[in-house]
């Protein structure tokens, strides 16, 4: 059992007297232990911040090979939750009058170029931070560990094509965040890692947050685990982290307590733990303004804000973000009206299932909020013409080929590019079972629970896109 700590107040101020309503460390600890065992998650840490009081628990191990136990001060990779941190620094620069979300990126990066000249000239930070630029989003070319890697990465965006026309829909775009990271570097004159330290980690007083492997190695750093073949139990991932170019997209390492200190700054309308205004109230609110509808409303939220994913849970506004790296998965949800925030950090296995069960229970118990559940396949299989859905859907690094078979769509997902080289199986079989005329459930080979796919923008009954894994995939051919 670990003592409760207080976030957002100096140590001692809480006097240890406050008792979180319905919240108990031991109960959280035992539930987390149960869930990770059930879903083959090697290790996890969770923090629950309710009415300013933090309850934490950790279970399992940080590395299956070494057996080091997970603790609440172990460092996990928070992955793409980092995008909200990068966005926060962008908004600080907006506060200082150094950036505008609606200026073309070229105002700040004069040489900025992607394949489409029109997009190159007109894409804005708002597009990048709300995933609406349409620029191929999974550009992961490795430019090494040098301080110039982000600059070189952005130069190499010159050949990137469009997944969809600028602003037409949303498709999760990692690329855009490293471009935003480059803008931070150019405006501040500092390297992204250093700027994050100076502008966020230090003012928030974060002692267990950093960005580089040589920093994390001096902490109890969790290692990711992946299934080396479909259905296999998770094993230690061969490398710890993605290349350094991925920094602004997702290379922050942290603990639930530190992530919740960051979240609390947003809940406190920009005020840090010592009362200083880390971000303006206007910018905090601007980040929570809906920018675009997410076509697949089941997987993440209903809309994307500026950096944040926006959810409507049981009539309440919730914001947050997920993160996934090489075998680590992270989840952050903030329900400001209920004064509740929860951060779960994990290192492999069916982390999404642990997230869904744990958050459903916590939000119900602590705030009476019902967390939406995944759609279910109808008991009687739908009788529908699947031919219009068949075809090839493709974006940079991913090709999905689908054909009707046995009352469903069957086919493969093929990964290519640098990221595929880190995975044991670049080609995965999949089966899509219809739920309604737009929504299907995707059963991946060897994967436990299905995930949704949404077909949309129908022309003569034929969909133009399929949205899955938060990304859109334009149809390129009819079989």
């Amino acid at each position: 059992m670990r003592p409760r700590a207080s976030v957002g107040r100096p140590k001692g101020a809480s006097a240890g007297a406050a008792i979180v309503k319905d919240m108990d460390t031991q109960k959280l600890q035992s539930r987390l232990s149960e869930l990770i065992a059930q879903h083959k998650v090697p290790g996890a840490a969770v923090g629950v911040l309710k009415d300013g009081e933090l309850t934490q628990a950790a279970a399992g191990v940080i590395n299956l090979d070494t057996g080091v136990e997970a603790t609440t001060d172990a460092l996990f990779q928070i992955g793409s939750i980092s995008k909200v941190w990068t966005t926060t620094v962008i908004m600080q620069l907006v506060d200082e009058g150094k950036l505008s979300l609606d200026e073309p990126v070229r105002t700040y990066l004069p040489g900025f170029k992607v394949a489409d000249p029109e997009v190159s000239a007109t894409v804005t930070l708002r597009h990048l931070l709300s995933h609406t630029s349409g620029i191929d989003g999974d550009h992961f070319q490795d430019f090494g560990r040098g301080d110039d890697c982000i600059e070189r990465y952005v130069d190499a965006c010159a050949t990137l094509g469009q997944t969809h026309p600028l602003g037409a829909t949303m498709s999760y775009c990692n690329t855009g965040f490293t471009v935003a990271g480059r803008i931070i570097e150019v405006i501040t004159g500092g390297q992204w890692d250093a700027v994050m330290r100076e502008r966020l980690f230090a003012p928030l007083g974060l002692t267990h947050t950093n960005t580089l492997p040589e920093e994390a190695i001096l902490f109890r750093a969790a290692v990711g685990h992946i299934a080396l073949e479909p259905g296999a139990d998770p094993s230690r991932a061969p490398v710890w982290v993605l290349p350094r170019i991925a920094g602004p997209m997702g290379l922050i390492n942290s603990t639930p307590a530190d992530v919740l200190t960051f979240a609390k700054m947003h809940m406190d309308l920009g005020k840090g733990p010592d009362g200083t205004q880390v971000l303006s109230e206007a910018s905090v609110k601007a980040m929570q303004e809906p920018q675009v509808v997410i076509p697949d409303k089941h997987t993440l939220g209903s809309h994307w804000g500026v950096g944040w994913i926006l959810f409507n849970w049981d009539g309440q506004s919730v914001y947050g973000h997920d993160g996934g790296t090489i075998g680590q998965a992270a989840f952050l949800r903030v329900a400001p009206d209920a004064n509740l925030a929860v951060c779960l950090l994990t290192n492999g296995g069916e982390a999404g299932q642990v997230y869904l069960k744990l958050y459903t229970e916590l939000f119900e118990e602590l705030a009476g909020i019902a967390v939406p559940q995944m759609p279910k396949a109808p008991e009687t299989p739908l009788e529908m013409d699947l031919a219009p859905y068949a075809g090839t859907y493709e974006r940079l690094g991913i090709k999905i080929e689908l054909a009707p078979a046995n009352g469903a769509l069957e086919g493969t997902t093929t990964m290519s590019g640098p990221l595929a080289n880190m995975l044991p199986n670049p080609v995965q079989k999949m089966r899509l079972v219809p739920v309604d005329s737009e929504t299907f459930l995707v059963y991946g080979e060897g994967e436990g629970e299905p995930s949704p796919a949404v077909f949309y923008e129908f022309v003569d009954g034929v969909p133009r896109y399929v949205h899955l894994g938060a990304r859109t995939h334009p149809r390129i051919a009819v079989q």
Binding site: D65, G146, D148, L212, I217, L218, G224, W240
Partner: protein
């Protein structure tokens, strides 16, 4: 419990070393022992999988890769380095024209060996390092004396990059690690940290043990054993067995043997009696030792072989300065236990004030001053790290321990040789240098030459 394990545990407990792994290879048999934990903050028992930084022992990897390129006819040891790095520049232009590949590998290039340079963490770190070499002071004439030279090894790393067309770490993986099956040897923190690894520590005189920061050294220094070069003890023993073998599958036997032949004398130095091709050579009680240890931030390791006896000892510790004391004690035990050899105690001589006055003065390296004073018939050496060096170390997040005074005693015989007579470095040897007039002009400390400052030379 084996005798090795008993000794290791006893010495580690006495010296308060948090974690150590040791291996002995003797006549076809390997034996290992482990003691303690990986980190005082996140303790995990040290075992056969535990990865330690092995630091400068890696210089012998860089040299071996060069020798493989020699065997393949791609590098000539006696060719000027310019043959491979045409853009090479040094402060003394004549040095850049004449310095050979061999002089990079036997510490005789003569330029400042420890100059701090920020070359970034990119694949271009070695290329940038070579550009900056032109600013390094030439401390001794090219080829005149052995003065330990990390910078020269980094240039050798750049030769490997130029000849292979690959980034250093990738080239080494192809030339050395893969063919020798060194599957537990790494360069990058990203590779090390998914495994069981140690962090370095420092122990104060009061016995407080703290984690040493930062973990890694600058990437440009990987060829000399900096950055994150790391391995488990088993891979280090594999390295020894390769060098005790016939060279297969990567070197000719005669090339392997050549690396262990003296290329430059350094009698009296802390490093040994002579340098081979990167190997440091030393005679002890009639045995010929071939080795090279390593020191990084809070990690101290030992590596030596006795080829005539088909023997090798490796010990890797995660603390200083007591880690190096452990290494010496373990070596002394092994030599006695296996070969009945005891290193003779050095016999210091008493000198009069007039004789001692010859040595009194201030000496300087790129990073520090060394003040030699005489009192009560004995010499004391005080190291003062230069303010700019301190600032740089602190900027890198390193905690710089106080430098206690080092008592030294002169040894009988020629060559102005001394031995450290007390403190953690007890037993370390060195020598003073004189010019043709007999005036003392420098002192070798820890294998590096410190030059007497002009102000301190007696009129």
């Amino acid at each position: 419990m084996s005798e090795l394990a008993k000794q290791l545990t006893a010495i580690a407990e006495e010296l308060d070393v948090p974690g150590v792994a040791a291996g002995i290879y003797s006549g076809g048999e390997e034996e290992y022992a482990f003691h303690g934990v990986t980190s005082v903050e996140n303790p995990l028992p040290v075992d056969e999988h535990t990865i330690f930084q092995y630091g400068s022992t890696h210089k012998t990897f860089t040299a071996t890769a060069i020798m493989r390129l020699v065997d393949e006819g791609k590098v000539d040891l006696n060719a000027p380095v310019r043959t491979y790095i045409p853009e090479l520049k040094t402060k003394d232009p004549a040095v850049a024209e004449r310095v050979t590949v061999l002089q990079l590998l036997n510490h005789t290039a003569g330029w400042s060996g420890d100059a701090p340079e920020d070359c970034g963490d990119g694949d271009d770190a070695r290329a940038i390092f070579v550009e900056k070499l032109a600013e390094f002071e030439q401390v001794t004439p090219l080829g005149s004396t052995v003065s330990y030279n990390n910078a020269a090894l980094n240039v050798a790393g750049r030769v490997i990059e130029k000849v292979t067309g690959q980034v250093y770490e990738a080239a080494m993986t192809e030339l050395i690690h893969k063919p020798l099956g060194l599957e537990n040897s790494f360069f990058f923190p990203n590779e090390v940290m998914t495994r069981r690894f140690v962090v370095g520590h420092s122990r104060s005189d009061e016995g407080e043990i703290k984690v040493a920061r930062p973990w890694a050294l600058a990437r440009a220094g990987a060829p000399a054993g900096g950055f994150g070069v790391s391995a488990n003890v088993g891979d280090q023993i594999k390295w020894a067995r390769f060098h005790l073998g016939d060279g297969s599958p990567i070197l000719k036997k005669e090339t392997l043997d050549l690396m262990k032949q003296p290329t430059f004398d350094m009698r009296g130095s802390a490093l040994g009696d002579a340098v081979g091709i990167s190997w440091l050579l030393r005679e002890v009680g009639g045995l010929q030792e071939v080795g090279h240890g390593g020191t990084t931030i809070g990690q101290y390791s030992q590596f030596f072989m006795i080829p005539d006896k088909d023997f090798a000892l490796v010990s890797m510790t995660n603390c200083g300065p007591n880690g190096s004391q452990l290494n010496r004690r373990l070596a002394a035990w092994a030599l006695e236990a296996f070969f009945r050899v005891t290193e003779p105690e050095d016999e210091p001589i008493q000198l009069g004030d007039a004789a001692l006055a010859d040595y009194v003065g201030t000496y300087e390296t790129v990073a520090a001053f060394a003040d030699v004073t005489a009192s009560d018939g004995a010499l004391v050496l005080n190291v003062r790290i230069k303010p700019e060096t301190l600032q740089r170390l602190r900027d890198d997040g390193e905690e710089v321990p106080e430098q206690p005074p080092i008592p030294i005693a002169m040894l009988a015989g020629d060559g102005d040789r001394y031995v450290v007579s007390g403190g953690p470095a007890k037993g370390m040897k060195g020598y003073f240098m004189r010019d043709e007039t007999g005036a003392v002009t420098g002192v070798h400390v820890g294998g590096r030459l410190a030059v007497r400052t002009k102000e301190s030379v007696k009129a």
